[in-house]
């Protein structure tokens, strides 16, 4: 299978007042093209931090301090991938929401309370699809200008066309520059000699500085009355949002459009969050516990929706949950995390049939089963404080099979068998 995104030995810390929280301790995960991949673990084990690091949106005071995040997006860069940690912020902005999107744990707080649904969903289109929107508007305007009309109205339309053309030109110019820079960066990707490194950092800085600012267009956009010329674009965006919301099963989308988050139910809010993420048909959708705060029926609906989207629209899904039942239902491959460590990665079937890591075993035996007779098993102890995490294997204070070496050395990630990797001293072997 071909990789889509991979993290290699990712370290992320939070530099808080109390001390450095070592949230990720060398996390390595791979999401392949076309699969639904699960990330499971107890609350606080670093699932959210992992995916936020993958999008480089870890909030203050968090910082990625080590490792690689390789992205294999277009067919041409499938071979080597791009290390996005080294790329500019502007590059990341072009990826986020377009190629990779994310939906969040709590829909109600994930939406901006003071912006309308139209503003929030429409923003995705305006950020990544402005070129197409402008072209569509220009086509409309051309038709309208062909017919006869009131001279003043025609002059106004002509003025609009002039501005839209100008904006489109400056956007295309900008895109061309960006493409050139990205191409050169891609060619330099694996070179590490001082000259290439210098060139890379200067290119990244240039990418950040580059803007498609057209003085006239932005002046008109900001001036009262004249700014109304942009309504045409907003109208087109509106239609696109309505279509999108319809496909996500939102009843009465034209009304929902005008409303604000607090006027919607939890399930509807989560659909809006999904709409924001799906606006630009991302390759990868990251779903960070999208259902854990919804009641069961709504939860089932949202899961169905995500499954349907996976089948029809999105290439890959990274699904985060602490619910092993959901993992079995939704995912194909899964990684178990504990306190910032990756414990084991394998297919879902294999995980339930043949768990290797003691933590995974503990997790599985703490899931209630219908035929359960004996008392439900729990893992003794609590998730460690990540300011002073246990040395070696972070699970060793709670592990029933802990050995002397466990407190001394971090176990390497070994391939126990084809497609099943585990990080535990019980399974010695070659680091992969």
């Amino acid at each position: 299978m071909e990789k889509l995104i991979e993290t290699e030995d990712l370290y992320t810390n939070f530099f808080t007042f109390e001390g450095v929280v070592r949230a990720l301790n060398g996390v390595s995960v791979v999401v392949n093209q076309g699969e639904t991949y699960g990330l499971v673990g107890e609350s606080g084990c670093g699932k959210s931090v992992t995916v936020r690091s993958m999008m480089r949106i870890v909030q203050e005071p968090g910082k990625i301090v080590g490792g690689k995040i390789l992205l294999f997006l277009s067919s041409e860069d499938r071979q080597k991938g791009i290390d996005i940690i080294k790329r500019s912020e502007a590059f990341m902005e072009s990826i986020r929401g377009d190629d990779i999107s994310m939906i969040f744990q709590e829909a109600s707080t994930s939406l901006n309370p003071v912006l309308s649904i139209r503003d929030q969903v429409g923003e995705s289109f305006l950020l990544h699809r402005r070129g197409e929107l402008l072209e569509e508007t220009l086509k409309q305007l051309a038709d309208e200008l062909k017919s006869n009309g009131f001279p003043l109205a025609m002059a106004w339309k002509g003025f609009q066309r002039w501005l839209f053309r100008r904006e489109l030109e400056s956007l295309r110019r900008y895109e061309k520059h960006v493409k050139e820079i990205d191409r050169e960066l891609y060619e330099l990707e694996e070179k590490t000699d001082p000259r290439s490194t210098r060139r890379k950092s200067s290119l990244n800085a240039r990418r950040d500085r580059l803007s498609e600012h057209d003085f006239l267009v932005s002046a008109v956009k900001k001036s009262p009355f004249l700014e109304r010329y942009y309504k045409k674009i907003h109208k087109i965006v509106e239609n696109k949002i309505i279509e999108l919301l319809k496909s996500l099963g939102v009843p009465n989308p034209a009304n929902v459009l005008k409303s604000y988050p607090h006027e919607l139910s939890g399930g509807m809010q989560q659909r809006i969050v999904i709409a924001i993420a799906l606006a630009c048909n991302p390759t990868l959708l990251i779903a960070d516990e999208p259902t854990s705060n919804l009641d069961v029926t709504i939860q089932a609906q949202i899961i169905e929706l995500i499954k349907m989207l996976k089948e029809n629209i999105i290439t890959s899904v990274l699904f985060i949950t602490h619910d092993l039942g959901l993992v079995a239902e939704v995912c194909e491959r899964v990684t178990v995390m504990y306190a910032g460590d990756t414990c084991e990665t394998t297919s879902v079937k294999e995980l339930f049939k043949n768990p290797l890591h003691p933590y995974t075993k503990g997790l599985l035996s703490s899931v209630p089963r219908i035929e359960q007779v004996e008392k439900l098993h729990t893992i003794p102890g609590t998730v460690p404080n990540l300011i002073n995490p246990p040395a070696g294997c972070r699970f060793h204070p709670r592990c029933p099979s802990a050995m002397k070496i466990c407190a001394e050395r971090k176990p390497p990630m070994v391939e126990y068998k084809e497609g099943h990797t585990v990080s535990c001293h019980l399974y010695p072997g070659e680091e992969v």
């Binding site: 999107s101 003071v114 950020l127 993420a277």
Partner: protein
């Protein structure tokens, strides 16, 4: 439509509140002896005790309080607030004389205070714990801790005393002659505005020139509170989940700050800005004293010292009106910024 209903309802409510204020003001006034209260009705400087007694009887100042209240209210509703000793004129005349001076400064300073406070607060939050943030913090500490009179005198000393620019007062002597001459029409009482309406730009610039130092003084003293509030509410907004959503859809830092976070952060700042405006309307005693501006604050301070009852009563009523109005405006702005607030 519902907004209009809401405003009408609030205006009606405002009348009730102001009625309460008159009751309160009147009760306080009843504490002082009748002889001092004669001023509500007539100019009572330099009169003999027997004349005074005659006046007290004439105006029934020893009648039961409710009757006196009704009588006073009848006058108030007719726009007759009595005679002010400190203004040497009827209260309404005094108000026309002092109020524009205050209003002019408040109208100039408040927007600037709001802009400076919000802008610096945003900068502090965006550049948290970096040098810009520290600089704004120093600015805030200076504004918080310096006494008004000290900062005002310091500014005067530096600019007027040392460099000889930005003199105190409202206008220079030459311009004063023009302003008081017949051909200069007083449309509003606001010097700058009247100067423009009379097409006398020299006077406009002169008046503005005199406004600069007190404005700076007010900005330094008053933007600090707004700034610190804006900084903390901005930081709070930036820590919310919806900021992550915005980042995840590819919005730039700029969009996140100025579109997603600022609007949320502005909500608490609106209240403070409103209160600030209302306070400045009546509370610039020291600024007006130092910069020799004959405004409401100065008048009130003098009225309080000389027990100029009619002037005090009027001003309490006036400030009550200002506060209630500002509150209404703040509520309307609230509803505009925050869709969760339903008016009506």
């Amino acid at each position: 439509m519902s907004l209009l209903h809401y405003i009408i309802r609030r205006l009606l409510l405002m009348i009730v509140v102001l009625f309460g204020v008159t009751l309160l003001v009147f009760s306080i006034m009843m504490i002082i002896p009748p002889g001092q209260r004669v001023g509500i009705y007539v100019q009572h400087e330099k009169i003999t005790p027997s004349q005074m007694e005659a006046l007290i009887i004439k105006y029934g100042l020893r009648d039961p309080a409710p009757i006196q209240y009704l009588r006073w209210m009848a006058n108030v509703l007719r726009g007759d607030f009595g005679h002010s000793v400190t203004a040497s004129a009827p209260v309404s005349e005094g108000f026309k004389m002092y109020f524009p001076v205050t209003l002019e400064l408040v109208l100039l300073a408040t927007p600037l205070i709001i802009i400076v406070g919000i802008k610096l607060g945003m900068l502090g939050a965006i550049h948290k714990d970096r040098s810009i943030d520290h600089a704004t913090r120093v600015f805030a500490i200076v504004g918080y801790s310096l006494p008004t009179f000290w900062l005002g005198l310091l500014l005067l000393m530096i600019f007027y005393g040392y460099f000889g620019i930005f003199p105190p007062g409202t206008i220079s002597p030459d311009s004063k002659d023009v302003v008081f001459s017949a051909e200069f029409i007083n449309f509003t009482g606001l010097l700058t505005l009247d100067a423009i309406l009379n097409w006398r730009w020299d006077i406009f610039w002169d008046a503005l020139y005199h406004l600069i130092l007190p404005t700076i003084n007010l900005i330094l003293l008053n933007s600090a509170l707004l700034m610190r509030l804006m900084r903390s509410s901005m930081l709070e907004a930036l820590g919310q989940d919806f900021i992550l959503t915005a980042l995840a859809k590819g919005a730039s830092k700029r969009i996140v700050y100025y579109k997603h976070a600022r609007r949320n952060a502005l909500i608490p700042a609106v209240t403070v800005a409103g209160v600030l405006f209302a306070l400045l309307m009546g509370g610039m005693v020291i600024t007006e004293t130092i910069f020799a501006r004959q405004g409401i604050g100065l008048w009130m301070a003098r009225a309080a010292l000389m027990l100029d009852v009619p002037a005090i009563m009027f001003n309490v009523l006036f400030l009550g009106t200002v506060f209630v109005t500002v509150n209404l405006i703040v509520d309307i702005i609230y509803a505009y910024i925050d869709p969760r607030i339903r008016l009506g």
